[in-house]
Structures are given as structure tokens and as C-alpha cells.
């Protein structure tokens, strides 16, 4: 809130006596180094003044295609910024609500391996796998935020103006440091697993590793812009689905049976659904900016139909898991929970009347809630299975 603004009555507002958030505009062609320093947040003048430079939001869709060569910043002293406590800001930066996309397949796979294998699970490897995947996911989120900020994408309200850098929660270089630290942790965990399975490294494993590095690079840095040209959905399906479950199977057992790939299908389909919903939410701004996401390319009605396709793929993959990979009665719980959650979600999508409709807002968030519900149902079914077998063992002992 501006200082000095006094409200006299409900129908009068006195103009401010003194407010001066300072605005600075920098052009890429004139001051590239200073612009970069402002975006990173480590410009000397900012550090000396203990201030943060927040990019001013823009209504120009062209900002998403780097058509604007200038940025306007609002320079605010850190002391004047009303920021949440550091732990809340950190959580917001890490976006733990999105971790379900990687945690769900990893923890479910661990439960399945524990139930289906006669050998006891190597707990240290399992822990390394879980920590490594979360660290990798967090790193991807952070790198994504940083690079979107450096490109100026978080100036566009629909594309991230509520994100941590645009809000002034952190400075660019701080996010980059945490991103590298998280990536480093993921590399350490991954390296440990590679060493543990060194004698079982095959060309398939090397190929999987190279693929994940390429996907992480693209999702995090968007070096080639493939994420916004329709390949993001395919990558999400593969990386959060069969790759994670197959890779985890290899990390813990040295083998990748075909059932490990099938286990990943529902999670891949869920990731595909959520990414599609997020791009569907942004269909108008992406179309205006000329981005090549699937909804922007195919249009509003086709995007609604594609949502149904994703839902069908999700239910189909759950059925495939139930029949071919893990035919245990407890696994009907995730099928039931997911189908109960999909119904209302599809109802909301059906009710959306236009690409500018407010009902589009929050679709991806609804998708994430469904993902959490599905994940919890998988974990509950694992617990049920454990409890069931323990109970049976007691009865028959």
C-alpha cells in the first residue's frame, strides 16, 4: 500500500502526499549487462541500497515471444516490501504441490517392489531414489522460474506474475543458487545409484539417463522452446510415467521388467492431463503470443475434447495396471478414487464457455488435487496390502 494515502470518506480519496516507488526502464540493446544484473538481482546499485527490482507486469502478449526489448522495473527497498517469513517463501519457490507428479510414481513403485520382490529392499538406495527425484523436480521448478524471469515471461500475469521472482520473494541469483544446490543433491543421489548398479549399466540405462537430462534441460531452461511447441506434453507423460517407474526399478533391482513400464502409465497420463489443463488455462494468452502449445494450435473446442482423451487414457492405464502389472484387489482403490475425482473435473471443463471464461482459471490446480487424491489412494492401497498380509500371517501362523 502506498505511503501517505489518506482516505477521507468512502467517496473521496486524497491524493498521496509522497510516494515514489522508483521505476527504471532498461533496453536490451543499450544496456545489456545492466539489464542482466537487474534481472539477476545482483546489480551493484541494488545491493548497495538493499533493494529489489521487480519487473512491472505487462499486458503485451508479445513479451512471451521476446518482442519487447525493454524491461521496466519497480525498485523497492527490501525493508518496505511486505514479505512472508523465509520458510513460507522457500516453500512457495519449491512448489511442493507439484511434487506429487514425481513422488506418486516413486513411492508407489517402492511399494510395488517391496510387495513383489522376494529380496528385502535396500533402504539406502530407496532413500537416495526418493530424495534424488524430489531434488530433481525442485531443481526443474527453480530453473524454470529463473529462466522464465530472465526471459521476461513472468511479466505476463497469466504466465507467472504471481511467482516468487515477480513478487519480490527472492532475487534471481538466490533462486539460481538454490536451483544448483538442488540439482547437485539430485546428481549426488543419482551418482550413488549409478555406482551401486555399475555392473548392471546397459545401453538402455545410459539412454534413459541421457533422455532425462535432455528433458530436465528443456523443462527447466527451455533452451529450444520445445515445451511450448507441443512436445512438453509428450515429455511430461514419459518422464513422470514410465521413465520414473522403469528407472526406479533399475536403480533398486538392476532390472526393468515390462510391468515396471506399465506401472508408470497412470502417472504419465496424470502428468499429461495436468500439463494439458495448464496450457488450456492459458489458451488465450498463448494464442495471442503465437506459442505453439497444443491448445493454442488446435483451438478451444478441440482442447476440451483432448481433456476427455487424457481422462480416458488415465482410466485406461489404471485398468491396464490392474490387469497386467499389479492385479491385487487393493489396487481397485486408486481406480475408484480417480474415477470419482475425474467426474467433477470433466464437468468443470464441459461447463467452460469460452477461452476467456473465468471457469478456466484454476483448472490445473484442480488437476493437481486429483493427482494427490490418486497418489494417496495408491499409498493407502499399499498400506492395506501390507496390513492385510501381516494380518493373514498372524491368522495362519
Amino acid at each position: 500500500m502506498a505511503k501517505g494515502l489518506i482516505l477521507k470518506t468512502e467517496t473521496e480519496a486524497v491524493r498521496p502526499q509522497q510516494t515514489s516507488p522508483r521505476f527504471v526502464t532498461l533496453r536490451k540493446d543499450q544496456e545489456p549487462a545492466r539489464l542482466r544484473a537487474y534481472l539477476r538481482g545482483d546489480a551493484r546499485e541494488l545491493l548497495e541500497r538493499h533493494a529489489i527490482a521487480m519487473p512491472v507486469t505487462t499486458l503485451k502478449a508479445g513479451a512471451l515471444r521476446a518482442e519487447t526489448a525493454e524491461w521496466t522495473f519497480e525498485v523497492v527497498p527490501l525493508a518496505d516490501l511486505q514479505r512472508d517469513p523465509w520458510w513460507r517463501r522457500t516453500l512457495r519457490a519449491l512448489r511442493p504441490e507439484s511434487w506429487v507428479l514425481s513422488l506418486a510414481p516413486v513411492l508407489t513403485m517402492l511399494g510395488w517392489l517391496a510387495a513383489s520382490s522376494s529380496e528385502p529392499m535396500n533402504l539406502s538406495r530407496a532413500l537416495a531414489a526418493v530424495i534424488g527425484v524430489i531434488a530433481l523436480h525442485a531443481a526443474m521448478n527453480l530453473f524454470g522460474d529463473y529462466h522464465d524471469h530472465m526471459r521476461g515471461w513472468d511479466r505476463v500475469p497469466e504466465r507467472g506474475a504471481d511467482r516468487v521472482l515477480a513478487r519480490g520473494d527472492f532475487r534471481g541469483f538466490e533462486i539460481l543458487r538454490v536451483a544448483w544446490a538442488s540439482a547437485g543433491l539430485a546428481a549426488i543421489c543419482g551418482g550413488a545409484l549409478l555406482i551401486a548398479n555399475f555392473d548392471q549399466i546397459t545401453w538402455k540405462a545410459v539412454l534413459l539417463l541421457l533422455m532425462v537430462l535432455a528433458v530436465v534441460l528443456e523443462f527447466g531452461v527451455s533452451r529450444w522452446g520445445l515445451k511450448y511447441r507441443g512436445f512438453g506434453e509428450l515429455a511430461a507423460w514419459f518422464f513422470f510415467g514410465p521413465w520414473l517407474t522403469g528407472g526406479l526399478s533399475w536403480a533398486l533391482t538392476g532390472r526393468i521388467p515390462w510391468s515396471a513400464w506399465v506401472m508408470g502409465l497412470p502417472f504419465g497420463s496424470m502428468a499429461l492431463l495436468i500439463l494439458h489443463l495448464r496450457n488450456f488455462e492459458r489458451i488465450m494468452i498463448d494464442s495471442q503470443a503465437g506459442l505453439g502449445t497444443w491448445p493454442a494450435r488446435t483451438g478451444f473446442e478441440a482442447s476440451k475434447k483432448f481433456t476427455w482423451f487424457c481422462a480416458t487414457a488415465l482410466m485406461g492405464s489404471l485398468a491396464a495396471l490392474l490387469v497386467f502389472a499389479d492385479p491385487s484387489p487393493e489396487r481397485s482403490l486408486p481406480v475408484l478414487v480417480t474415477s470419482m475425482g475425474l467426474g467433477p473435473l470433466l464437468g468443470v471443463v464441459r461447463a467452460v464457455r469460452s477461452p476467456s471464461g473465468g471457469e478456466l482459471h484454476g483448472l490445473a490446480h484442480r488437476g493437481l488435487r486429483l493427482a494427490w487424491a490418486m497418489a494417496l489412494s495408491f499409498w493407502c492401497s499399499d498400506l492395506l496390502r501390507l496390513w492385510g498380509s501381516a494380518t493373514l500371517a498372524r491368522i495362519f501362523s
Binding site: 500500500m1 482516505l7 467517496t11 480519496a13 510516494t19 499486458l59 519487447t68 521496466t72 469460452s354 476467456s356
Partner: protein, 316 residues
């Protein structure tokens, strides 16, 4: 500061349109008689400060008024508004068909006049602006009855509808004088966007009787199912029950009771603060505009400097 001598602007003349088309001139006479002509005065002032000749200034002034009034003719019919400037709207006094055709005629006339002037860039830019206006109207129409509309969506609509006209008023004189430097136009575009937002947000406050010196009808937008920018702002953080009760309010008092009087006042202060920041951003852009102007054109920024406060606070 030396006031520029504006040429006398004749926006509408019966000789501009065929006398044999029944009621057309009568409709235009009604339409142009009582308008304030704010946009034509704005573009004329900018053009005059830049040294444009009278013919150019007259063309620009007439163009913007024709486009603006064409959009009013169509908007009133789309929104089913029965009054315009305190008088019966054209579609009620004449017929809906005549209102549509009259609006189309004005737009066609714009194209005839501009192509006669011969500046292709100006024609192209004007066509883009009309396209944006239509897109904004289309999207706004789809938002009626949409209770989940976001502030960002409304800002986009306002930028397309209201902002486009302001941007044109600032940029077209430069295009007419063949000053097409993209960096100059970037700054002008920023100024126009902000003016459009401030004007629209101030207009949205009138719906809640805030600085309502014109005596505009209260809660008109809400009652017609349209969530304007201040409504969306007030609704932030409220429960669905509160929002539902507020949407059904038939008076301002009822609305304030539904959302909480203290909450309403606090949101008004925050809304004003948000727009004060826009006014300051506008001043920043005017400073940047100075670097693109010759020394004898600097007075333009002083003219434009008053606009943001005038449009938002609704008094000088």
C-alpha cells in the same frame, strides 16, 4: 505554458453522408450532438504540439470520434442499453438494424478518409486498433454472467477496448507525421495502456458511487451480471456465500453489508493505491517520452502529464 491553438474541429457534417438515406443524418446528428469529444481533443492536442497541419489534425479528430461512436452504437445494442448520454440509445429510437448499419457506415467512412490521406502505416495501425476494439467487445460480451472472471482477464479486455482508443490518440499523430520509431511507439503504447486502465477502473468505481460526480447509476454493472474490475477486487478473499449475497444486492448499502463495510473501505484504499502506482508509472513513461521529442515538442509531455490524474480522480 503556452497553450496550443487547436484548429476548430468539425467532427460531423450532414454533407459527409448521403442525404437520400432516410434518417441516417438524423441519427448522426443525435449521436454527435452531445458528446464531450474528449478523444478528438486529445488527438488534436497531440497533433498540434507535433506541428501537424490543420488537415491532418481534422482527419485524426474525425477518425477517432467516428470509431468511438461506431463502437457506442454497436455496444448499446449488444448490451441492450436503452439510454446513451441521458437520451434514448440509437437502436431504440430508430431500429437495431439502422444502429448497426450506421456504425458500419462510420467505420467505412474512416477507411475512405484515411485512404484518401494516403499514409499506409496510419491506415494499417487504425485497422489494427479497430480489430482490437472488436476483439475486446467480443471477449467482454462473453464475460457477462461469468462470476469467476479474473482481474487479469478484465485488464486485457480494458486494454483492448478502452486502451486501444487512448493508444491511438497518442500514436496516430506520430504515424501521420511518418515518425514510426518502434521505441518511441513502445513508450506511447505504455502510456496509452495505463490511461486506458485508469479510465476504465475509475469508471468501474462510479458503479459503487465512488467519486461519482456525474451521478451515474449505481450497481448497473453488477445488476446486469458483469463483474467489473472493482467488484473482482473487492471479492478477493471473500467466501462464496458472501460473494453470492453481494451479487444479489439491489442497493449499495446491501452490497457493503454483504462484503463487510470495513472490508469495502479497506479494498477501496488498496485499489486507489494500486492505481496511484500506475499514475507514477505513467509519469515515468512520460519522462522517457521526452527523450524522443524535439525541444519545441516538450510541452506535449506537460499536456499529457495531467491526463492520468484527471482520468482517475475525475477532477483536476
Amino acid at each position: 505554458m503556452h497553450e496550443p491553438k487547436l484548429p476548430s474541429l468539425k467532427i460531423y457534417s450532414p454533407q459527409d453522408f448521403p442525404a437520400y438515406l432516410p434518417k441516417l443524418n438524423q441519427l448522426f446528428d443525435d449521436l454527435f450532438r452531445d458528446g464531450k469529444g474528449f478523444r478528438s481533443k486529445l488527438v488534436a492536442r497531440v497533433a498540434t504540439r507535433l506541428g501537424a497541419d490543420d488537415r491532418c489534425t481534422q482527419l485524426l479528430a474525425q477518425t477517432i470520434e467516428f470509431i468511438h461512436n461506431a463502437s457506442l452504437l454497436h455496444d448499446d445494442l449488444i448490451d441492450r442499453s436503452v439510454l446513451r448520454r441521458g437520451k434514448p440509445a440509437a437502436w431504440t429510437k430508430y431500429t437495431p438494424e439502422y444502429a448497426v448499419l450506421a456504425g458500419d457506415y462510420l467505420l467505412a467512412r474512416v477507411m475512405v478518409n484515411l485512404s484518401g490521406y494516403g499514409n499506409v502505416r496510419l491506415i494499417q495501425y487504425t485497422a489494427e486498433m479497430i480489430s482490437d476494439l472488436l476483439e475486446g467487445e467480443w471477449i467482454q460480451d462473453s464475460l457477462v454472467g461469468d462470476h469467476a472472471v479474473t482481474a487479469a482477464q478484465l485488464d486485457r479486455v480494458h486494454n483492448l477496448k478502452t486502451g486501444s482508443l487512448f493508444k491511438w490518440c497518442l500514436r496516430s499523430p506520430f504515424h501521420a507525421l511518418k515518425r514510426d520509431d518502434p521505441h518511441l511507439h513502445e513508450v506511447l503504447e505504455n502510456c496509452g495502456i495505463i490511461l486506458g486502465l485508469l479510465f476504465q477502473r475509475s469508471d468501474d468505481l462510479l458503479d459503487f458511487d465512488v467519486r461519482n460526480h456525474e451521478g451515474k447509476a449505481v450497481l448497473g454493472d453488477l445488476k446486469s451480471g458483469y463483474m467489473n474490475s472493482f467488484t473482482v477486487f473487492v471479492f478477493e478473499g471473500l467466501s462464496e456465500t458472501q460473494k453470492s449475497r453481494a451479487r444479489e444486492a439491489q442497493s449499495l448499502g446491501e452490497f457493503k453489508r454483504a462484503v463487510g463495510e470495513a472490508h469495502f473501505d479497506q479494498r477501496l484504499v488498496s485499489f486507489d493505491a494500486m492505481n496511484v502506482k500506475q499514475i507514477e508509472l505513467y509519469a515515468h513513461n512520460l519522462e522517457r517520452l521526452r527523450t524522443h521529442l524535439a525541444s519545441n515538442e516538450q510541452a506535449l509531455t506537460q499536456d499529457l502529464g495531467k491526463l492520468s490524474e484527471l482520468l482517475y480522480w475525475r477532477k483536476a
